[in-house]
C-alpha cells in the first residue's frame, strides 16, 4: 500500500493511515539499524540530493545516513557552499536539479512553502526537512515513533509542547500529526511566543507549566532562540528559565513514566536542565536514533510511489 502523496511536504493533510504506514515501516528499518551490517539494497540506483539552504548538522546527517543505509546515491549541499550566494533563484536551482535527473530531493529552507514551490517545479519526490516556521514533518514523525515505542500508543495521550510555539516548525508538525493520531495536545509558553488562533487547531493553551506537568504523558521541549529576547518577545533568559524551564524540582509532580523530549540542540540550563536531559525519563537520544529509521521509511515509501 503506497502513500497518498508523492511528496512529504508537511503533516497537515496526511491521513492517519499514512502516518501509521510510515511508523510501522520504520519499525523494520530500526531492526536493520541493530544489525552489524546496517545496509539494505532497497534504493540501489536511486539518487537523492539533500538541499540545505539553512545550516543543519543533525537532520542532514540523519537523512544522509538513511539514504546510504538504503544503498541510494546521495549528495548534500549547504547553501553557503552552493550557488545560492551568487544570487541563483530557487527556480533556477530547481531547473538544474531537474536537468541532473535526481530521484528525490530533501530540502531545508528558511522560507515557508519553499519545498511546496519546488515540488511544483520538478518531477522528483520532495521531502521537507524544515521550511521556515511552517513544518518539519520528519521530526514530528520521529517524535511520534518514539512516543509509540516507549508508551505503546499515541491515541489518548496528553502531549505538551513547551516553549516558542510561534517560531517552531517542530511544534506545528507535531500538532498536526498528534491530532491526527488522536492525542490531546497542549502548548505552554509565554503568551508572546504562542500564535493567535492556535486554539482553532484543537490544542489547549497554557501559560503555567506547573499546572500542566502533573497531567501530561509527554513533554516536548523546544529550544528557545536567544534572539527572540532582543525583539521584545520575552524579558530575559532568567525569567524564561524561572517560569518555563524544565527541571527536576518541577518534575517531582509529574507522572512516573513521563517522557522528556527535545528536538535539539538543547540549551542546557535554559529550557531544560542538564540532569533532566540526561535523566531516566529523557528519550532525547532515542529520538535521534529513531530519526534515521523514520527517514529510511519515508525514503523507501516515497521511492516506491513511482
Amino acid at each position: 500500500m503506497p502513500l497518498k502523496s508523492r511528496h512529504l511536504l508537511g503533516l497537515e493533510n496526511v491521513p492517519e493511515e499514512d502516518i501509521n504506514l510510515i511508523l510501522d515501516t520504520a519499525v523494520s528499518f530500526k531492526e536493520v539499524l541493530q544489525r552489524p551490517i546496517k545496509k539494505v539494497p532497497t534504493l540501489q540506483g536511486k539518487t537523492i540530493v539533500n538541499l540545505f539552504f539553512e545550516s543543519s548538522t543533525r537532520t542532514r546527517v540523519s537523512f544522509e545516513l538513511a539514504a546510504r543505509r538504503l544503498s541510494a546515491d546521495v549528495t548534500s549541499f549547504q547553501a553557503s557552499t552552493s550557488s545560492v550566494n551568487k544570487g541563483e533563484t530557487l527556480l533556477d536551482t530547481a531547473r538544474n536539479i531537474e536537468a541532473m535527473k535526481v530521484d528525490m530531493v530533501v530540502m531545508r529552507h528558511s522560507a515557508v512553502g519553499a519545498p511546496h514551490f519546488l515540488s511544483r517545479m520538478i518531477k522528483s519526490n520532495v521531502i521537507n526537512a524544515g521550511d521556515g516556521t511552517h513544518e518539519h514533518p520528519t521530526q514530528a514523525l520521529l517524535d511520534m515513533y518514539t512516543i509509540k515505542e516507549k508508551l505503546g500508543k499515541i491515541n489518548g495521550l496528553k502531549v505538551c509542547i513547551v516553549g516558542d510555539i510561534s517560531h517552531s516548525r517542530v511544534a506545528m508538525s507535531n500538532i498536526y500529526g498528534l491530532k491526527t493520531m488522536g492525542a490531546e495536545v497542549y502548548v505552554c509558553g509565554p503568551a508572546t511566543l504562542i500564535p493567535r488562533h492556535i486554539e482553532k487547531l484543537g490544542v489547549k493553551v497554557f501559560h503555567n507549566i506547573d499546572e500542566v506537568i502533573p497531567e501530561v504523558d509527554v513533554l516536548n521541549i523546544l529550544r528557545i532562540q536567544l534572539e527572540r529576547q532582543s525583539v521584545g518577545l520575552f524579558p530575559s533568559i532568567r525569567e524564561y528559565r524561572t517560569y518555563f524551564g524544565i527541571n527536576s524540582e518541577r518534575l517531582k509532580r509529574a507522572k512516573k513514566d513521563i517522557l522528556i523530549m527535545h528536538p535539539g540542540p538543547i540549551n542546557r540550563g535554559v529550557e531544560l536542565d542538564a540532569d533532566v536531559a540526561d535523566g531516566n525519563n529523557s528519550v532525547i537520544l532515542d529520538q535521534v536514533e529513531n530519526g534515521v529509521a523514520i527517514r529510511m521509511a519515508i525514503l523507501y515509501l516515497l521511492g516506491a510511489t513511482e
Binding site: T89, A111, G113, F117, D131, T133, H134, E135, R169, H197
Partner: protein, 423 residues
C-alpha cells in the same frame, strides 16, 4: 471624426437616465442624443445589448514609470486600463524618482498627453516618500497633482501626518493614506488568522490597518481636513469609517476587487499572486467590505493595480513583492461579485467606478448630454468570459484570478476625441 453609437442602453446615474438611445459624437463632443439617429459619413457601432456609462476612473494605479519600466509603463498600463473599461487612471507616486517634484509630474503628463485615457498624477506627501519632510505640496498641486498619498510608504509619525493634512487643507487637497502601522506588520507576509498560524507565516494583524484608520479619522476631525482611506480591507476599518461618516467627519474610502472577492484561505496555495498589501483577510472582512460598499461607507472601487515581473513573483512566498495587477479584471469581478451577488445595482456600480471617485478628486461630472465631452465606458454586461493571464495587456501577469469565470466585459471606451471598441 464622427461616431454614431446605436441602440446602446445609456445609464447616467447623475441624470437618472436609463434608456436605449443613439449618441452622435463629433470631434469628441456629443452633438446629438435620440432615437433612430441616421448620419452620413460616420462610423457606426451597433451597441445593442450593451451599456453606455460615464467613463470609469481607477483612482489607485501603480504605473511603475519612471523607474520600473520592466514591470509596466505609462503606455502599457494605459492600454490595460482602457481594456479594463477605464477612461482615466490615477498613478501613485512610489516611482523612481518618487513623484515629489514638478519635473516628474511633467514627465508623466508629457508621456500620457496623447492617450485616449486620462492619466492623473497622485503626488507624494513627503520628500522621497520617507515620511520625514513635507514635499512641495503647493507646487505639486499647481503642477496638476490630483491628490496626495503616502501609498506603500505609510507615514509613521502622527506629527508629520498632522502637518501634511494641515498643509493640504490650504487648497482642500485630498490626502490618500495607505493605512498600516509597520511596527505591527514587520516581516509579515499575510493576514494574521488561523491560516497564518497554520502555515507558520509571519502575520500582518488587521489592527495594523485599523490603528492608522482611527488615527487618520481623529486627525481629520481635529483639523477638519479631508482624509481618504486607500484599499480598506478589514471589518474594523469599515466600522470606524461608517461611524466617522455618521459624525460628519470628512472621511472617504475605496476598496479593491480582490479584497471583496478572495479570503486569506487562498494563501494556502502558496501562490505569490495571493500576496498583496493590505493582505487578503477573512470571510468576515470580505462581507463587511461588501456591506460597506452597499451602504455607501466605501465610496469607490479602485484596483491598486501593482504590476510585478514574473521573475519577481516566481520565488519563495516570503521573498515575493506585494501586489497584483487589477485593471483588466476589476469590472468583471465587481459585476460578478457585487451586482450579480445582490450588493449593488448597475447604477451603484457605475457610481463606485465613476461618479464618486470623480467627486472626491474634484473632477468635472460626466454628463451624457448634448454639447458635453464624450467620456464613456461601454460594457457588455451579459458577456461571460474567463480570465486568461497570458492575454492581459498589462506588461505584468501577476493575477490570482487566472481561470476565473466572470460576467460583464468592457466593450469599449471613448474619451479625448478617440474611440476604441474591442473585439
Amino acid at each position: 471624426m464622427k461616431t454614431l453609437l446605436k441602440n446602446g442602453k445609456v445609464i447616467s446615474p447623475i441624470k437618472k437616465v436609463n434608456e436605449i438611445l443613439d449618441i452622435y459624437i463629433e470631434d469628441g463632443i456629443i452633438r446629438e442624443i435620440g432615437k433612430n439617429l441616421i448620419k452620413e459619413n460616420t462610423v457606426v457601432y451597433d451597441l445593442s445589448g450593451k451599456i453606455i456609462a460615464p467613463g470609469f476612473i481607477d483612482m489607485h494605479v501603480h504605473l511603475r514609470e519612471p523607474g520600473y519600466e520592466y514591470k509596466e509603463t505609462i503606455e502599457t498600463g494605459s492600454l490595460a486600463a482602457r481594456r479594463g473599461g477605464f477612461t482615466a487612471i490615477c498613478c501613485m507616486p512610489n516611482t523612481n524618482p518618487v513623484i515629489d517634484n514638478e519635473d516628474t509630474i511633467r514627465f508623466i503628463q508629457h508621456k500620457s498627453a496623447n492617450l485616449l485615457n486620462d492619466v492623473f498624477v497622485i503626488a507624494a506627501v513627503t520628500k522621497s516618500n520617507e515620511g520625514k519632510e513635507l514635499a512641495p505640496l503647493l507646487e505639486l498641486n499647481n503642477a496638476g497633482a490630483i491628490a496626495f498619498s503616502d501609498d506603500a510608504m505609510p507615514i509613521s509619525s502622527a506629527e508629520i501626518q498632522r502637518r501634511v493634512m494641515e498643509y493640504l487643507k490650504m487648497f482642500d487637497g485630498l490626502f490618500i493614506q495607505h493605512c498600516e502601522d509597520q511596527n505591527l506588520t514587520k516581516g509579515g507576509v499575510m493576514n494574521e488568522s488561523i491560516v497564518s498560524t497554520s502555515l507558520g507565516f509571519s502575520p500582518m494583524p488587521p489592527i495594523a490597518e485599523e490603528i492608522f484608520v482611527i488615527r487618520g479619522i481623529i486627525l481629520s476631525e481635529y483639523l477638519n481636513a479631508r482624509y481618504h482611506v486607500a484599499h480598506v480591507s478589514t471589518k474594523g476599518s469599515v466600522e470606524m469609517i461608517r461611524e466617522a461618516k455618521r459624525k460628519g467627519i470628512k472621511v472617504s474610502a475605496e476598496a479593491t476587487p480582490h479584497h471583496f472577492t478572495l479570503t486569506d484561505e487562498a494563501v494556502r496555495s502558496f501562490d505569490t499572486n495571493t500576496k498583496m498589501n493590505p493582505p487578503l483577510r477573512t470571510e468576515e472582512d470580505v462581507e463587511a467590505i461588501k456591506q460597506g460598499l452597499k451602504d455607501g461607507t466605501i465610496d469607490a472601487i479602485a484596483t491598486d493595480h501593482a504590476p510585478h515581473a514574473i521573475h519577481e513573483k516566481d520565488v519563495e512566498y516570503a521573498y515575493a513583492p506585494f501586489g497584483i495587477v487589477g485593471l483588466e479584471t476589476a469590472v468583471g469581478l465587481t459585476y460578478s461579485v457585487l451586482v450579480d451577488g445582490g450588493y449593488l445595482s448597475l447604477e451603484e456600480m457605475i457610481n463606485k467606478f465613476s461618479t464618486n471617485p470623480r467627486k472626491l478628486l474634484k473632477l468635472p461630472e460626466i454628463r451624457i448630454e448634448v454639447n458635453e465631452k464624450a467620456n464613456l465606458t461601454i460594457l457588455d454586461v451579459n458577456k461571460e468570459w474567463v480570465v486568461d493571464k497570458y492575454k492581459l495587456n498589462s506588461k505584468s501577469k501577476n493575477t490570482p484570478f487566472h481561470g476565473f469565470k466572470l460576467k460583464c466585459k468592457p466593450y469599449g471606451v471613448i474619451n479625448n476625441g478617440m474611440v476604441e471598441i474591442f473585439e
